[in-house]
Amino acid sequence: MAADSLVNWGLLSLSAPGWGGVLLQGFLNSIQIAVGGFTLGLALGVGGAFGKLYGGPVLRDLLECYTTIVRAVPELVLILLLYYAGTDLLNQVLALFAIGPVDISGLMAGIFVIGVVQGAYSTEVLRGAIKAVPAGQIEAARAYGMSPTKVLRRITLPAMLPYAIPGLSNLWLIATKDTALLAVVGFSELTLVTRQAAGTTKAYLLFFLAAGALYLALTLISNVFIGMIERHARRGFAESR
């Protein structure tokens, strides 16, 4: 029986008797969450990194707590906490401002959850990258009379990018894989739909291998783009080794 189901490629066909379409839809959901979560994390990370480097003592300590907690607690636990508590809190805050409860879709909750986790990681990556920018460049910009926002936009951000990209690309790969954890809260991303398909058809090996191939393809394609971006960002740098 297992031998039959192993070679029953029909189960992967895109239309109705096959589950390929459902799998691809789940894959799309995973990518959406990864992109959304990574972007939200990047935004939080830029704010967090600058807060940690240039903020007041209280802000700095609060950010330290945020990054410490996220880096010390398993993602799975954070995802459960944020998934239930986060959206609950959001609604209570909105109620304070007399705005009715918003309808938070699974997708939004997923992006929020992955984003908050990624935010702590990218805070650390970006902080390291900003510190790697030679202080003289920033001082020179100040000496030219640039305003702080202009220094940020014209000097600090572009100059730190080459240092940040390797770390950020790793975070992107982590984000794509962390989406699988949302299966535990019942969100229909690739891993959960794979298990549903496998459970219904009993072709466990086939579906899990297919999903693995999709994740791997995403990673490999990402690596190609990361290589391109890295080369572009490092132009003008002396080749190291």
Binding site: I69, P74, L76, E124, V125, G167, A180, R195, T219
Partner: protein
């Protein structure tokens, strides 16, 4: 994964605060606010379930730690050859090692675990030979699959680190060893391996914390670790926040202890200069 990324996603020794840093004025205020928050949590939330579950929680923590250490040690033992063959091995060893690292690092651990437990696990009983073998009582259990998945994952990530570490040992040191007339094996045992491990140590800390952060996944295949105990509390009491907050606290303590232990260990290893 680079050293910096590991640091960014895992709490590591350099993040530990110093004792004196707690006595800055604004920190005292913040700690008072935090203490008030803790008191509020303790008073206004429901904790009456805690005593009933304490023995099971202790047992769960033990299971989590056994999972962590057994898989980290097994994974590291696998990582050494995986890293080594990628630096010096012939192509027919280099290629599979590289492919192994790419595939494992490119797919989610949860999927690998389910592939092993549900995929392979549902295949085994079809072969009567396996079912009658002495291994069957173990294959029936869930923990071998959890250990296997976590070990493989650790081996792949740490194998990549060891590859860099082996490659990064200065050539001069190896040449010096050769000049002293050391054989290949002696040189590996006395110079290359210790130096590589030394170089990999900071990353090893981070990877071990990351491994701790991965252990709760085994709860999804019926291993009763601390995460599974907390899930049980959630299901039986219908509480959400209290058990999860406690779980986060438990993991923070475990990470803290792990990191302090690593720092003590690291301080005992002599390092020259920078």
């Amino acid at each position: 994964m680079t050293d910096e990324t590991t640091h960014a996603v895992a709490f590591t020794p350099e993040d530990l605060p110093t004792a004196r840093s707690f006595f800055l004025p604004h920190r005292i205020v913040m700690m008072l606010v935090f203490a008030a928050f803790v008191v509020a949590v303790a008073v206004f939330m429901r904790w009456d379930w805690l005593p009933r579950y304490l023995p099971r929680l202790g047992w769960g923590i033990l299971v989590s730690l056994v999972m962590l250490f057994s898989t980290a040690i097994l994974g590291f033992l696998l990582a050494v050859p995986i890293g080594l063959v990628q630096v010096t091995g012939p192509w027919f060893l280099k290629l599979p090692a590289k492919a192994f690292c790419t595939v494992i690092r490119g797919t989610p651990l949860l999927l690998q675990l389910w592939l092993l437990y549900y995929g392979l696990g549902s295949l085994f009983p079809q072969f009567p030979a396996i079912r009658q073998s002495f291994l069957w009582p173990y294959l029936r259990e869930a923990w071998p699959y959890g250990v296997a998945a976590l070990t493989i994952s650790f081996a792949a990530y740490e194998g990549e680190v060891m590859r860099g570490a082996f490659g990064g040992v200065p050539h001069g040191e190896l040449e010096a060893a050769k000049a002293y007339g050391m054989g290949r094996w002696t040189m590996f045992r006395r110079i290359w391996l210790p130096r590589a491990i030394h170089r990999a140590l900071p990353t090893l800390n981070g990877e071990t914390v990351l491994q701790l952060k991965s252990t709760p996944l085994v709860a999804t295949v019926t291993v009763v670790d601390v995460y599974a105990v907390i899930s049980k509390v959630r299901q039986e009491t219908f509480l959400t926040y209290e058990p999860l907050l406690l779980l986060a606290l438990i993991y923070m303590c475990l990470t803290g202890i792990l990191v302090v232990a690593f720092r003590t260990f690291e301080n005992r290893i002599p390092t020259r200069g920078a």
